[in-house]
């Protein structure tokens, strides 16, 4: 089974965000593998362990992104693909998906896995767009995968505690729900072996990808609290009554 995992490198979870225009200053902060994607990678590795085959780690972005690809290789991915793009953060979801689709078009993978969304921009569209561009069946928010004889049985999560089983043919694109598995640690041997694994270097130009952006992030900003704290006073009973009234009729959240 050939599985391609799309992995994004994002700013470290607690990195202080210095906003410049529509993005953040990338110097002086750490980067790490997008946590939702680490679950997709783990799922891919487990499928390979069960069904044999190959796991390819695909990522896009500046040179620093190779570090995340290496982490995937250290955990057991067989090879990597890096689409070099210093302006990756400026791409709209369709633009990014176009590049990723071009990179994998000739791979004829059985499965393409992504995480649900990235912890930085959080568009949450990559998997679905890849399915559209590659004209493959897809499913999202996947909690379990059972593969047999060229097709899949998938457990999909719905709202309010509901789930659904779906049958899906191969090849397919899946977006994996976070927390579906316990992510493994890279082993020492894995880290050493990763040094010798291939990371193909591509660019949007070399892939012949040209797409017009469909949307633009004009700016990002810290939402400013426009209201001042309204303090409620009185006896506990009075305060409780006032609060419920405010929440119901003023803030209208209950």
């Amino acid at each position: 089974m050939k599985i391609i995992v799309c992995i994004k490198q994002v700013p470290a979870k607690d990195a202080p965000l210095a906003i410049t225009g529509n993005w953040i200053k990338e110097s002086d902060i750490g980067f790490e593998m997008n946590e939702p994607d680490s679950f997709a990678l783990e799922e891919a590795l487990r499928l390979k362990e069960k069904h044999g085959g190959e796991v390819v780690a695909l990522s896009m972005g500046p040179e620093r992104v190779k570090q995340t690809i290496k982490e995937a290789l250290a955990k057991g991915a067989d090879r990597g693909i890096h689409i070099a793009d210093d302006q990756f953060a400026q791409l709209d979801p369709l633009g990014a998906a176009n590049a990723l689709a071009a990179a994998v078009k000739n791979e004829n993978a059985d499965l393409i896995l992504t995480g649900l969304q990235s912890d930085d921009q959080g568009f949450g569209q990559t998997g679905v767009l890849l399915a559209a561009l590659l004209d493959r069946p897809h499913a999202t928010i996947i909690m379990a995968i059972e593969a047999s004889e060229g097709k899949l049985k998938l457990k999909r999560e719905l709202e309010a505690g509901w789930f659904q089983w779906i049958e899906c043919p191969l090849p397919a694109v899946l977006s994996i729900q976070s927390g579906i598995n316990k992510v493994r640690y890279a082993t020492l041997k894995g880290i050493m072996a990763a040094k010798k694994k291939e990371i193909a270097a591509l660019t949007r130009e070399s892939l012949g990808v040209k797409s017009e952006p469909t949307q633009k992030v004009e700016k990002i900003y810290v939402p400013v609290k426009t209201k001042k704290t309204e303090f409620l006073t009185g006896t506990p009973k009075e305060v409780a009554a006032k609060l419920v009234e405010k929440l119901k009729f003023e803030a209208r959240v209950i």
């Binding site: 607690d14 990195a15 750490g30 790490e32 598995n181 316990k182 493994r184 020492l188």
Partner: protein
């Protein structure tokens, strides 16, 4: 449970990817490269050099002021000026005396505070850059792996066991449980930094202590972005006086980096008498001095961190060579206690260790005989020149600043000998004076709050250290007997762990004990918020009963000292 551990073998295993460990690795890699190129036998491989780094990436746990003397780097990387992230050369070295309301700059900066020719640097950035060179040379640097235990073979050090991963907070294996590896090597180099956890055990096991026990200080640092015009890059100031009282040893620093970034901090010897003294609060108080306030007003806190430093000096350096192992860097106390400079000495110690190890690899003899060449090299190098001159410096201050100045004045004119040589000292924690047991200790959460703009409470500061640990893992701070905390320590010392830890790890929680038959009684319980730990080792050092044992947590955990 008997654990099956995977075994790997290396030629050289270096525990710690700091300036000492990386300099050792890089220098050794260079020696091996030249060796192979000359066709000498046996052929050696840089891939058989393993470096373990417990941080998430190289540099993550590196913290220093820092003013770096470039002499060691110049030997290690001759074209360092072109490629190293040096930030800015020192342009102005000031020594400043602070009183509560005013400041006085010494018209002539005393020699220990002169720094012409040195660089203001971020040690995190220097180490990151060095790490890249080490990896390019083919050395295996394993991030997120710590050295948890030493391996002995016939009483020689044979390697290290890395920490178990994937244990839950009760020590039970989780789904992704991965036992630590048994890494064996011909030579193990302990480069764990200050108060190394393996080093501590090796020193005890092999009785490597020198005539003086190690003395430590704590350094608490904040990195700020300030308004333009407040400070020049390359401006270096060291402050004495307020708020450090004359019976304590310590002082502050202010270093101007490029782009209006400033490194500020306070260093204090962990030898003070009042067990409830709070170094973090003292640092915050120091910032309220008009001199600092003017600098920081309108600025923004970027990062916070803390680390201990070993400044016992020459007579406190442990014996650094045993069969199969060497101790370098801060773990080996390679630090000039007068100038508080250790980066170049750490690097030099790493390079001298590399030369010694190279000999061992060539001859196949890693016994103390060949490895003993390390100490001879140290004694013939500028490490000795520098440290010998200040061999009694730190110990001079054990009875206060004034007596310290007298002793050090004599030492200055006698090449370090002074009035007493060697000056004996005892462990810092022994200086703790018992408290008046009738005075209740302050509730930790009622303490220093900070104004949130210039001064900060501990938790806010810890947040800015970027420290994280997976919370579902065993606590890495082993307190041998927590009964002592609630019976003896509360009476004798007032639970100083709540005060000396700069990361709010330790807390004496007040609980209502309903179990006892006679109504409700309040009792204390030691709470350890280990996820806040910044790996400074202060607790291991300063605890008056010496019952705290700091061990490596699961790799990757700890602070994120980006830019520090």
């Amino acid at each position: 449970m008997t654990v099956q551990r995977e075994q790997l073998e290396a030629d050289v295993l270096i525990v710690g990817a700091g300036p000492a460990g990386l300099s050792c690795a890089l220098h050794l890699a260079n020696l091996i490269k030249k060796h192979n190129e000359s066709g000498a036998k046996p052929e050696l491989s840089t891939e058989n050099i393993y470096v373990l780094e417990k941080g998430r990436e190289i540099g993550a746990h590196q913290l220093s002021g820092a003013i770096m003397n470039p002499k060691a780097l110049a030997e290690l990387v001759p074209d360092f000026e072109k490629s190293a992230p040096l930030d800015t050369p020192v342009r102005d070295s000031a020594a400043i005396l602070l009183t509560e309301r005013s400041s006085f700059r010494f018209p002539l900066t005393p020699p220990p505070f002169q720094n012409q020719g040195n660089y203001v640097v971020s040690l995190n950035k220097i180490v990151k850059w060095l790490g890249a060179l080490v990896e390019d040379a083919g050395v295996n640097v394993f991030k997120e792996f710590g050295g948890a235990q030493l391996v002995y073979e016939n009483s020689a050090v044979a390697g290290v066991i890395t920490e178990d991963k994937g244990l839950d907070k009760n020590g039970k294996p989780k789904d992704n449980y991965t036992p630590g590896y048994e890494l064996r090597a011909k030579v193990t180099v302990l480069a764990e930094g200050t108060r190394g956890s393996l080093t501590k055990k090796l020193v005890a096991e092999k009785k490597l202590d020198n005539i003086n026990p190690q003395s430590y200080g704590i350094g608490i640092k904040e990195l700020w972005d300030v308004q333009p015009g407040r400070i020049e890059p390359g401006y270096v100031a060291h402050t004495l006086g307020w708020p450090v009282s004359t019976d304590m040893y310590g002082g502050g620093w202010i270093y101007g980096l490029a782009n209006n970034r400033v490194s500020i901090g306070l260093v204090l010897a962990l030898e003070y008498a009042d067990p409830r003294f709070d170094p973090h609060a003292a640092f915050q108080k120091w910032k309220t001095h008009p001199f600092l306030r003017k600098l920081l007003d309108g600025g923004k806190l970027v990062r916070y961190g803390a680390k201990s430093l070993p400044y016992g000096g020459w007579y406190a350096m442990p014996r650094n060579t045993v069969d199969g192992a060497l101790i370098i860097g801060d773990s080996g106390s390679f630090l000039d206690s007068q100038r508080l400079k250790g980066i170049h000495l750490a690097m030099k110690s790493g390079m001298l260790a590399a030369e010694t190890i190279y000999q061992a690899l060539k001859t196949g003899d890693a016994s103390a005989k060949t490895l003993g060449g390390f100490q001879s090299r140290v004694e013939q190098s500028y490490i000795r020149d520098e440290m010998w001159k200040v061999r009694n410096f730190h110990q001079s201050f054990q009875h206060g600043m004034f007596r310290g100045f007298i002793h050090t004045a004599f030492q200055q004119i006698t090449g370090g000998r002074g009035l007493i040589d060697p000056m004996r000292a005892e462990e810092g924690y022994k200086h703790n004076k018992k408290i008046d047991a009738t005075k209740r200790s302050l509730n930790a959460t009622e303490r220093f709050k900070g104004d949130g703009k210039l001064t900060f409470d501990r938790l806010t500061d810890v947040y800015h250290s970027g420290t994280r640990h997976d919370e579902d893992q065993p606590c890495h701070l082993h307190v041998l007997d927590t009964n002592i905390c609630i019976t003896r320590c509360v009476e004798e010392y007032g639970n100083p762990c709540q005060y000396f830890c700069p990361a709010a790890v330790y807390e004496m929680a007040r609980e209502v004990d309903r179990s006892a038959g006679a109504g409700e009684t309040e009792r204390l319980r030691l709470k350890i918020n280990f996820a806040n730990c910044v790996h400074c080792k202060t607790c291991d050092i300063a605890d008056p009963y010496q019952i705290i044992d700091w061990v490596v947590p699961e790799g990757g955990g700890g602070p994120n000292y980006e830019g520090m």
